[in-house]
Symmetry: C2
Subunit: 302 residues, 2 copies
């Protein structure tokens, strides 16, 4: 069986959901895109922005006749969203998502929709902004989308979803859900946790005013504030869903931080310089791989 995606439903119309809809309209103009969001206010905003062909007021109406349904809601809401749309689903519809943790989401979707083809996915892309107005069609250009199909997933459904994400500009890789959760704990979840922590720490010190923190943030602090401005509910759910991998990675970070702390306390300049020289090379690799802007300072205007 070959899946042709002619009608797409996006459930959840925030930054990622609305970017998927916009990218489809830009790259696959023949695909009909139906959107739904549990929030009436978001549905109204999405209607006004016009990035979907239609916005449905209920999840089960939204998914009617869809070949592919993409759930773009916080990972803690995936099960509810799946149950809400279940009555309207076509039997052969492919169900996917964009959640930042995968093992828990896959289990929740399987439990809610035991008879459907579920191919979990995670486009590793985003900005610090939230909501339907924050999305844009080129968000996935050159970024990786990770699929975590179960071992018994239908190959043609995996192929259809791969083709779909490539059409939106993404590069696609498949891996085991548990490995995804470990990799993303390192490249995304721990960085967010650290950024949230340090921004909180800096704004609560008695000896340094918040005004000083803001004025002198160009010394490095401001780099952390971007991801610490990400959606609080989305990130709350990620940490709860990927608890074990996050805590394991955090332990490794804490060990390394203790080593550097000790080097500072002991005045061990050689250890510090050695460490700082090693970390310099990894940015060059990220730029060479096309995953960051080569311009100094992320390309900020000066």
């Amino acid at each position: 069986m070959t899946h042709r995606i002619e009608r797409l439903c996006v459930i959840g119309l925030g930054l990622i959901g609305s970017s998927v809809a916009r990218a489809v309209k830009a790259r696959l103009p023949d695909v009909i895109v139906i959107g739904h969001d549990a929030s009436e206010a978001v549905r109204g905003e999405a209607r006004a922005l016009g990035f979907c062909d239609d916005i449905a007021d209920s999840a089960d109406a939204a998914v009617t006749d869809a070949d592919l349904v993409i759930l773009a809601v916080p990972v803690g809401r995936m099960a509810d969203a799946a149950r809400a749309m279940a009555p309207g689903l076509r039997a052969d519809a492919i169900i996917s998502d964009v959640g930042s943790s995968k093992a828990g989401v896959a289990a929740a979707l399987r439990a809610a929709l035991p008879d459907h083809a579920i191919i979990p996915a995670h486009p590793v892309a985003g900005t610090e902004n939230s909501g339907p107005a924050a999305g844009f069609a080129t968000l996935f250009d050159g970024r990786w989308c990770i699929l975590t199909p179960a071992s018994d997933a239908a190959p043609d459904a995996v192929a259809a979803l791969t083709t779909f994400w490539k059409a939106l500009g993404a590069r696609v890789e498949a891996m085991d859900a548990a490995h995804h959760d470990l990799v993303l704990a390192v490249t995304s979840h721990l960085p967010h946790l650290i950024a949230y922590t340090i921004v909180g720490t800096a704004s609560e010190l008695e000896e340094v005013t918040e005004s000083e923190v803001i004025k002198y943030s160009a010394g490095g602090f401001r780099d952390f504030t971007r991801i610490a401005a990400s959606d609080p509910v989305m990130w709350r759910d990620v940490f709860l869903a990927n608890k074990d991998a996050v805590l394991a990675t955090l332990q490794r970070f804490n060990e390394d931080l203790t080593v550097l702390q000790q080097a500072i306390r002991r005045g061990d300049g050689e250890k510090l310089e050695q460490w700082f020289t090693r970390t310099r090379t990894i940015r060059r690799s990220i730029i060479a791989e096309g995953q960051d802007d080569p311009a100094p300072d992320f390309g900020r205007k000066h």
Copy 2:
């Protein structure tokens, strides 16, 4: 006495020193700029780039007749640089620097040059790149330059340096050196330490390959790699020079991280969401204060 800056000497021609020279030529074209760097290779590069009126081969020749000398070398090298130029200094020359820690540098400069007017300074600006080719004339536009004059500093020298930095586009504030070191421990040194740590942690994990870290870095990790690509020697010296404030601030960070770690382990979503909501607002303040790009994702190209 009024100081007129007609001849400037910049010692150390890396990112910051060469940006000072370029900014002076762009904004104060009548000022003669003489440069020097302890490295012959850097002197050659600076000559080829042509951002100084002249490059001197020795520090004492470089400072001859200068009204203002700015030391732009790693903070661990300030004392040596001051001693090297001492024989050539005019008695009424103002001595300043651009170091990222101030109490230790001030003491080192006072010891090396007991008879000169020393007004330590720190322009809070930079990029992750190093060397004379990395500098640019607009680096200090809208950024803050902090002066930490001693309580007995000559007001006219402070005024002259204030006027100088404002002419380069900076905003100027004066504070006590010890307070500077605490503020910058929060807004610059701790962020660099954390970024260096996490980039090291991520590249050393056995379970996740470096290739995976690089490919999926757009999930947040890449934001940390920018400041972890900063000059290793400069940063080694900063941590050694500002040890006490860095360790004190790090302790606060560790406390907060432990609190969030516990919230994750216990599944306390309310605490996480509350924390993440609070940190969101500080970025808006930084953008409102003109200290970061308002464009999503730091203005990276998409």
